[in-house]
Symmetry: C2
Subunit: 143 residues, 2 copies
DNA sequence: TATTGTTATACTCTATAACTATA
DNA sequence: TATAGTTATAGAGTATAACAATA
C-alpha cells in the first residue's frame, strides 16, 4: 500500500517531462524579448546582483567560464551587458547591465517570472510549497 | 506563516538546478556506454516498445521529427537501431533495436536507471513518492 | 490534399583544452 | 605558480522550412 516501487526513477522521468515542456513554452515566451533561456538567466542574475565576475557567474549558472564568455560576448554586442575591469585585480571582468539591459530586465524579468508562476499554478499553493521544499532539499544534497 | 510568497517560481528554479546537476552527472555516467542522454532515451523507449514510427517517437520524446531523423541516423550508423518500412503504409519507418542495440539496452538501461534512482535517494522513499505525485500531476496539467 | 520522413540551414548551448594576461 | 578570461574546436540538440514519396 505504499505506492509504486521505484518512485525516484518515476519522479526523475516526470521532472524531465515537466522541465522540457516548460522550457519550450518559456522559449516561446522569451522570444518576445529576443532572449534565450540562458540569456534570461544572465539578465535575472545581474538584475539582482551586478558587479560579479564571469567566473562567479559561471558558478551560479552551473556552466563553464568558456560558455559564459561566449554568452556575455553575444549580450555585450547587443548592448545589454558591459564588462569593466576590476580596479584592483585586472584579471577580473565585473559585469554590469547597461541602461538598455536594465530596461529590458525591468520588462522581461517580472513578466517571465509571472509566466513561470502561471505554469506552476496548476498545483495548489500548498502543493507548490511542498514541491519547492522537496526540490530545494534534493538540490542541497546533490553537492 | 504559510511560508514563502512565490513557491511556484522557487520550485521552478530548484527544478532547473536539480535537473541540470543530474543531467551533467548522467552524461558522465552514460559515457561508459558511449551514449548521449537523447540516445539513451531512444534506447529506453524502444526497449519498452519497438515498432513505433519516427513520428510517434518524436511525440514521446517531445522533439520534432527532423531531430528524430538525425538521432536515428546516428544510432543506425552505429548499428543500434534499424528502420523497417511499414508493410501497409510505406510512408512510415518502424523502428527496431538490432541485436547490438538490445544488448546495449540490456546493459545500459538498468544500470542507468539505478544510477538515477541513487541520485534521488537523497530523499526518503515517502518524499520520492510525494515528488513523483506532484510532478506527474503537474505534467498532466501542462497538456 | 494531408502525412511521413528527409534534407539543408542556422543558431545556441555545452565541454575541453590551450592560450594570454595578471596576480 | 595560480587564477580569470579568451579563443578554437567539436559536437549535440533544437527549430524552421522546403522537399519527395506515399496515402
Amino acid at each position: 500500500m505504499s505506492g509504486v516501487r521505484n518512485p525516484g526513477l518515476l519522479a526523475w522521468l516526470y521532472m524531465m517531462r515537466v522541465s522540457n515542456k516548460i522550457h519550450r513554452t518559456s522559449a516561446d515566451h522569451l522570444e518576445k524579448y529576443d532572449l534565450t533561456a540562458a540569456q534570461f538567466d544572465v539578465l535575472a542574475h545581474l538584475s539582482v546582483k551586478e558587479g560579479i565576475s564571469q567566473q562567479a557567474l559561471s558558478e551560479r549558472l552551473l556552466v563553464t567560464k568558456g560558455n559564459v564568455c561566449g554568452l556575455i560576448d553575444r549580450m555585450e554586442s547587443r548592448g545589454l551587458v558591459s564588462r569593466c575591469s576590476h580596479p584592483e585585480d585586472r584579471r577580473l571582468n565585473l559585469l554590469y547591465l547597461t541602461e538598455a539591459g536594465k530596461a529590458l530586465a525591468a520588462r522581461a524579468v517580472p513578466a517571465h517570472e509571472e509566466f513561470l508562476e502561471r505554469q506552476m499554478q496548476h498545483l495548489s499553493a500548498q502543493e507548490q510549497r511542498n514541491l519547492y521544499t522537496l526540490l530545494r532539499d534534493l538540490d542541497r544534497s546533490l553537492d
